[in-house]
Every structure is written in structure tokens, then in C-alpha cells.
Subunit: 353 residues, 2 copies
């Protein structure tokens, strides 16, 4: 018997590559190419740094209120965490305590199986169809919970509210989590169902890391019925009471209040995405219809793994997944027009070699 016997044996999740090189075109982490709202930056400048000696308010109510106002829900319908990974990890612990497997797609956010293994949650994956779409009928099967990202990642495909409502109607007896990390770039938020008495089992998660340009701050949130939010709060307060720091609260509020900047940057990213998609299709790529701030593409005549490696030598960083079904696809973040032009130019150079 040694202390080593009680150590957790776990295969670590390997975060995406973060190059320390300068002067790269960084289209590999789905970061926003535009800075945070000037009002958020001003909130940081105006922040009284001496007050950091004090704990943040454990409930962070003013930030909850800014989010609640935006989504048209109450403060008690909002939960905050240290990035949406924190929110999702707490939600898995809070809601998936049954014996039946939880359900999610075979191709989706790679952290779901990692949390299931960490918390000992049984799970079952349902294959996306041949067009990489989620088949809602799969989620009629009895399950211990459902997790679906909308838009899905890395496929970029978004679904409409009829689809979400179908999932909810099929799953009256399970908690349904809709992970909306990328929703602002192309789908309507399922938060509209949170007000309804019929869907007390719905949790919608969101993040400041993508559409709000605040990945460096680590803020995520969830919107759900009071019944779900109160259980999430109880689990969070059994883990770490003060997860959202004072600077994040101040900048987060300003970010949500600046709707004009938010709309303008999201619209710019969507316009660049459409231009990028059209040009790649001209070059013979198959590009899935994206509702996100990234595109997912393949080409019948070329190895996407080689393209990924070629682009890296040209200092253009994109993402390649060596995984079943998608091992000839690339995922490319929508950057600024300038960044995307460099990506397109180098991609064209590769296929014209």
C-alpha cells in the first residue's frame, strides 16, 4: 500500500496547440479577431485595482443581471462560471447522476467524454448522418441526459428552434443541455424556451470567449429554470464559491451592455465567413454551411493533413483532427479579412503547386 495507489489514473485532455511564435496567422482556436468592446476596455481602465484586496461578490449578481436582461430572463435563471468549460463540468456533476447513459453525437466537442470519464457518467454517442447533421430521432431513445452543441463543433452546422423544440419534446424526462458557445454567429438561442413551464429541464450554456472577444478572462454562463440553476449553484458552492473574479464581472457587464459593438463585430465575422466559404468552394473545397465563427472543409483531391502542415510552415495555424470520419477535414477560424486573405492565398498556393 503506497500513496501512489490512491492517485487518480486519468488520461489528460490535451488542449489545442498554442504557439508562442509571433507573426503567425492564428486561425486554430476559434478566437475572435476583433478586440473586446471599447466599453469593456474602459471598464478595465476605470477599475479600482486597490479593491482587488477584497473577495468578489460570491453571487456576482450585477453580471447575472446584464446577461438576464440580454436574454429576457430573470437573474435567478442565470449561472456564472470560470469559462463555459467550468459551467459544463459543474452541470455534468449536477444533472447527470442516473444510471442511464447520457446522449450526444459521435462528432462533437471533445470535452464531453472527458467529463463523463472524470465523473463516472455513462454515455452513448449517436453518429451524425452522412451530411454531418444530428438526427433528432436518435434522441428519442431513453437516456440519462442530452448534450448538444448548437452550432455543433467542429462541424459548424447550426440547427433551428424547431429542431431544438423537437429534442426537448422527445426528452421530457432528461436534462437537456444546449451548448451555445458559437450560437451568436448564426442560430437563435434556445434561451427563449427557458421561460416556458414545459421546459424546466433545459439548460443553455454560453461563453464570453467567442462572440464577446474575452477568451483571456474566462467567463461562461448558463441559462435555465430556477430548478436547474439552484442545483448548479449548490454544486458550485460545494466546489468553489468565488469563481468569477472582480475584473471579469466589471468587463463582462460592459461587454453585454454594448450591443452595438457586439452586433457590428459578429456581422463582420459572418461576412468574412461567407466570403471565405465562397472562395474555398471556387477552389473545389466542400465547405459545410457554417453558423459559427469557423468553417469545416474538405477537398477530394488533397490531403487536409498535408494542407494543415503546409500552412503551418507558412505560419498560418489552423486545426486538423486525426479522428474517424473527419480525418480529411480542416477547421479554420474566421479571422480578419486580412488574415483570411493570407489563409486563402497560401491554400491556393498549396493546391496549385
Amino acid at each position: 500500500m503506497s500513496w501512489k495507489d490512491n492517485l487518480r489514473k486519468i488520461e489528460p485532455y490535451v488542449p489545442g496547440e498554442q504557439s508562442k511564435e509571433k507573426d503567425i496567422v492564428k486561425l486554430n482556436a476559434n478566437e475572435n479577431p476583433y478586440p473586446p468592446s471599447p466599453k469593456a476596455i474602459q471598464a478595465l481602465k476605470d477599475f479600482n485595482a486597490e479593491s482587488l484586496r477584497l473577495y468578489p461578490p460570491a453571487d456576482a449578481t450585477p453580471l447575472k443581471k446584464a446577461i438576464a436582461d440580454y436574454y429576457g430572463v430573470g437573474v435567478n435563471n442565470v449561472f456564472l462560471g470560470n469559462g463555459s468549460d467550468d459551467v459544463l463540468a459543474l452541470a455534468f456533476q449536477a444533472f447527470f447522476n442516473g444510471d442511464k447513459p447520457i446522449a450526444y453525437p459521435d462528432i462533437t466537442y471533445s470535452f464531453y467524454p472527458v467529463w463523463c470519464r472524470l465523473f463516472g457518467i455513462p454515455y452513448k454517442t449517436y453518429p451524425l448522418d452522412e451530411n454531418f447533421r444530428i438526427n433528432p430521432e436518435d434522441y428519442r431513445e431513453e437516456n440519462g441526459g442530452v448534450v448538444l452543441p448548437n452550432p455543433n463543433a467542429p462541424t459548424s452546422i447550426g440547427e433551428d428552434t424547431e429542431f431544438i423544440q423537437k429534442i426537448l419534446d422527445y426528452n421530457r424526462d432528461s436534462v437537456v443541455i444546449i451548448d451555445e458557445a458559437y450560437a451568436d454567429f448564426g442560430v437563435q438561442s434556445a434561451a427563449l424556451f427557458v421561460d416556458s413551464d414545459s421546459y424546466q429541464n433545459l439548460l443553455v450554456t454560453g461563453t464570453f470567449s467567442k462572440s464577446r472577444s474575452l477568451a483571456g478572462l474566462r467567463i461562461g454562463f448558463a441559462i435555465g429554470s430556477k430548478a436547474l440553476i439552484s442545483v448548479l449553484e449548490a454544486v458550485k458552492n460545494s466546489y468553489n464559491s468565488y469563481t468569477v473574479d472582480s475584473l471579469s464581472i466589471a468587463m463582462g457587464i460592459a461587454s453585454f451592455e454594448d450591443r452595438d459593438y457586439f452586433t457590428a463585430t459578429v456581422d463582420k465575422i459572418i461576412a468574412t465567413r461567407e466570403r471565405m466559404t465562397a472562395r474555398l468552394r471556387e477552389l473545389g473545397f466542400t465547405v459545410l454551411d457554417s453558423s459559427a465563427n469557423f468553417i469545416f472543409a474538405t477537398h477530394n483531391d488533397y490531403s487536409m493533413k498535408e494542407l494543415f502542415e503546409y500552412l503551418k510552415t507558412e505560419k498560418v495555424f489552423i486545426r486538423y483532427f486525426n479522428l474517424p470520419r473527419i480525418d480529411n477535414y480542416i477547421r479554420v477560424t474566421v479571422g480578419t479579412d486580412e488574415e483570411v486573405d493570407i489563409f486563402l492565398k497560401e491554400t491556393e498556393a498549396y493546391i496549385r503547386r
Copy 2:
């Protein structure tokens, strides 16, 4: 069968009261009365807020290096989290996976049993002796792990390195966590044992919230053998890869580099603590010898609960625990000299009524 059946049933931990009133003397949360290092504040001013659009580096190596240099260990001996509660919660999950109960005192940090319940870890508490000291012989009993705060809270009592070494020598087969949230105010860090091959099972945890005046930022850390740190990293990377935000990294580095300011503020707090202790003793209080930034005191002739409530009406907030053995004690944070003078004046007014 309803979705409600799979919700986690858990008694939430209730964080300490955080009054929203202004103009109070706030001596109830063991916050530092002095602002963060001017160099940390400068680091915040110099921070390029536009870069917050990018994720922080998942490994936060520059901050690990600043901490490693201070404690004389390697970067691979340092782990970072979102406050020391996050670090401890991850450590409980990483190291306490056996069937034997983990061991800690009956009077100690109130989060330990909360984590045990959350993660299903068996535990056994050992009563402090009649002087509120930890009896090291208790920790010879076979166990699944040991957690001891040094100084202990809320007793404020610190133990020397001989005591820690004894605990380590008695527990070759368990992971031993020494929780040093308050260590900078009066005990030598057990980090000095981390270098030793004999104590690969030692984890020391620390925080920026007390001696570093950065409670608002949420940074905690751990120091341990590479064997322990690598398991902690694996569990953390299975939970949330990006826990420490970019602003915390920048301010945290500056804070650790400014040793003069750190020493000066810690020394001021210790001097105030000794003056406060002496005066309370003159007033007939029993005050435990504190190695922390708070004192723990009682008086044979007065109800400490009533004193606590009286002080609140005078806008002086301290802490009272309605718990077995300590229900006639108060815990008072060491504030500025001015704050402590108000506390002493009002306390004297109470007992002279």
C-alpha cells in the same frame, strides 16, 4: 422517472456574509487591509486589454516560474488554479481515491467535509486538544490521506517544521496536504520539504487572497513533487484547461516579484496583530497565539455571540461560528491600525456597558 431524479442532492456550502453596506469596518473575511503591490497594479495598467480576445496560455508558465523562484523549486513543482479552493478541490479528486478515510481536525477549514461529500471521499476527524492544538500522534492511524491547514483556521495556531516533518514521517503511505492559506503571517512554508526525495507525497497549497492582497483575482497554487503535480495537471485538464486568466497571470507575476512590498505589508499586519492581541488580553480576553492575519478569542464573562451582534450594529463586522467547542469565540481579521482601533474601542464599550 423524471429529470429531477438525476439532479444532485447536496446541501450547499454557505459562503461567509458579504455585506453590501458602505462605511463598515470589515474584519470578517480575512482580507488584507492593504492594497495589492503597486507593481501588480502597474502590471494591470500596462496590460494590453485588446489581447483578452486570445485564450490565456493553458500552462501559465511565467506565473509558475515566479512562484517557483520564490519557493526555490522547479516550474514542474508548481500548479495553478482559480483560487486555492479550486486547487484543493482538484487535489481531493486527484489524490484521495482510496477506501480509507482521510484525516483532518474536528475544527478546521469548513470546506474539507464539503468536498468529501461532493466527491464521495470517506473522512475521519480528530479532535484538537484542549488548547486547540493538533495532536500529531492522531495522524499515525492508518488513513487515506491527511489535510492540515498551517496555521489552522479558525484557531490561528501555527505549527513549526518539526511538527510538519513528524506528520510526514507518520504518513509515508498517504498524500499529505498542508494548506498554507495563512502561512505567510507566521509559519515557515513546508515547501522546503518538496525538494526532498523522502516526501514525494507532500502537497503544499497557497493563495494570493491573503498575504498578496488579491482575493478579487482568484489565484491559488500548489507546490509538490513532479509525481503529484502531474496527476493534478491531468485532473485539471480533464475539468477545465484554462482556469487562470490573463490578467491574473500578469498581476500575479508582479506581485511575487515585489518582495519588499510583500514583506512590509505582512510585517505591518503582524505588528497590528500583536498590539490587538495584547490589548484584548488586557481586557480579559483569552486570545490564542496567532500565526495568521486574524485572531481567535473568547472571554469568560461575556457572550461572544452577543459581542458579534453588538459590533454589527456598530458597523464592525467580525466572524462568529455557532459550532461545537467554539461557540463562545470570535474570529477577527487583522485590519489597518485604524480599523483595529475602532474594533477595540467598540469591544471595550460593549464590555464596559
